[in-house]
Amino acid sequence: MAAPVPSLLRQELERLAESDQRIDGRGRWDRRDVQLEVDILYNAEGSAKVTWGDTVVYAGVKFELRTPWPDRPTQGSLMCGAELRPVAHRKYEPGPPSPQSIELGRVVDRGIRESGCIDMEALCIVPGEKVWGVMIDIHVLSDGGNIFDACGLAAIAALRTAVVPAERFDVGEDHVLAVKGTPVMASFQRVGGRFVYDPCEDEETGGEERIHITLGDEEHLHSLQKGLKGAFTPAEFAEILEVARTHCGELRELVSSMEGN
């Protein structure tokens, strides 16, 4: 029988919320410390490690030569996968991808893809014959809460520092992958009755619905996802959207500071 959500934790979170406090001492819209390293893995054409509080995530980029889809002969392709493997937490079991794992991968993928930051036409080598397939894989090694934002950050940082291995595939000279924008995700969860930004592990355990927002360079929305049981109002959404704008901007600058390293 699955454990009921620990009611003591939930009560504690509600008590704290009354005085607008959080279990790890942060303010409602505060972010935990984030460290970003890039270009750290042999064999990956781009790589990044994100340490976000107790969460640790690696992303790696690989390229392959493909035949383009018949209806899009001048476009390459992008694949972004995130896996929740049992290494990341006591709670994850081995086996086929769980719905949680699938959702994570698809939400991160949509944030990157829908921002249009990868120019699919620029991945074409010979129209109708040969295009690049770009594959970003994200590996969660330690789940300390808010893996969505950590995965999104690792993915875009790995992409922005990736080198297309054209020489190895005999199709020209190696060159930096062209990336036109920096989509960044901001995630919120209802804890103790109100939304907070960047939930930690305890807040995820004792919280309710989550909202994931991906914003592009011009603060346009590129991806939204509501997860878990719970209902919210349009007014609540408007409030967190404002908070997302600030945090996405800060993290976008962090990614930019990595390039040219």
Partner: protein, 243 residues
């Protein structure tokens, strides 16, 4: 995923859409409740050319025991597209897209079903898409709400599934197939008609905050209309309409 072909013409010169609808007009919706004899509750929804059928079973014993929740029922929701529901045949079997939609649909319905009434039990919601013409996840949510009501499962509110989107830089209600293929954004929502709350939200493409707000407004307007049709279908069923 949105096609993002800003250059495909999807609006007529008079501002109407290729199928003649105005920007805030939804496709026709038909609903029937109680159409599957073997199910506890069921519904059939035709929305545009989409057809969704939903069967509800339970509450029943949840097994294996490890899925049981001591304080409430679990909702076991499956969204499935029939192999013949799309232009190119779909190979049978769950795929990643279906699993994600099943997950978020389940979470939307859990937000309204009074699960605490049935501790340790399971309620199965089987969503079958028989014909797909853009927007099937929303049609599935609408049909699931009607089927749950038909099964007599208590809910604090219904959920109406509806999407708006953006085509040719214009926000429009309820994308059809061409608009979905060549449009710039899609914003599906699950709206509770009585409380006005959202229990389902996804979006992809490109929307400014202003465009998001207009699309949301269109969705709420349409949800009220669809809700009336849902209620009428359930009335029909219990007034001895066709079973």
């Amino acid at each position: 995923m949105m096609g993002g072909y800003g250059d495909v013409k999807l609006l007529n010169d008079d501002g109407t859409r290729l199928d003649g609808r105005t920007v805030d007009e939804m496709r026709p919706v038909e609903i029937k409740a109680g159409i599957l004899p073997a199910a506890q509750g069921s519904a059939w929804v035709k929305h545009g050319l989409n057809v969704a059928v939903v069967a509800v079973y339970g509450p029943m014993e949840a097994h294996p025991r490890k899925i049981q929740r001591q304080d409430r029922a679990v909702l076991d929701v499956r969204y499935n597209m029939a192999p013949f529901s799309t232009s190119d045949r779909i190979r049978p079997g769950f795929n990643r897209r279906s699993r994600e939609i099943s997950k978020v649909t389940a979470e939307a319905l859990e937000s309204v079903v009074l699960l605490e009434r049935y501790p340790r039990s399971k309620i199965r919601v089987e969503i079958e898409i028989l014909a797909a013409e853009a927007g099937t996840r929303c049609v599935g949510i609408t049909a699931a709400s009607v089927a749950l009501a038909d099964a007599g499962i208590p809910m604090r509110d219904m959920v109406v599934g509806i999407a708006s989107g953006k085509i040719q830089d214009t926000v429009v209600l309820d994308l059809d197939k061409a608009e979905d293929n060549y449009g710039q954004a899609d914003l599906p929502m699950g709206i509770c008609p009585n409380t006005g709350e959202l229990v389902f939200l996804q979006m992809d493409g490109d929307l400014s905050i202003e465009e998001y707000n207009l699309a949301t407004e269109y969705n709420y307007k349409a949800a009220a209309e669809i809700h009336e049709i849902m209620v009428a279908a359930l009335k029909d069923r219990y007034d001895g309409g066709e079973a």
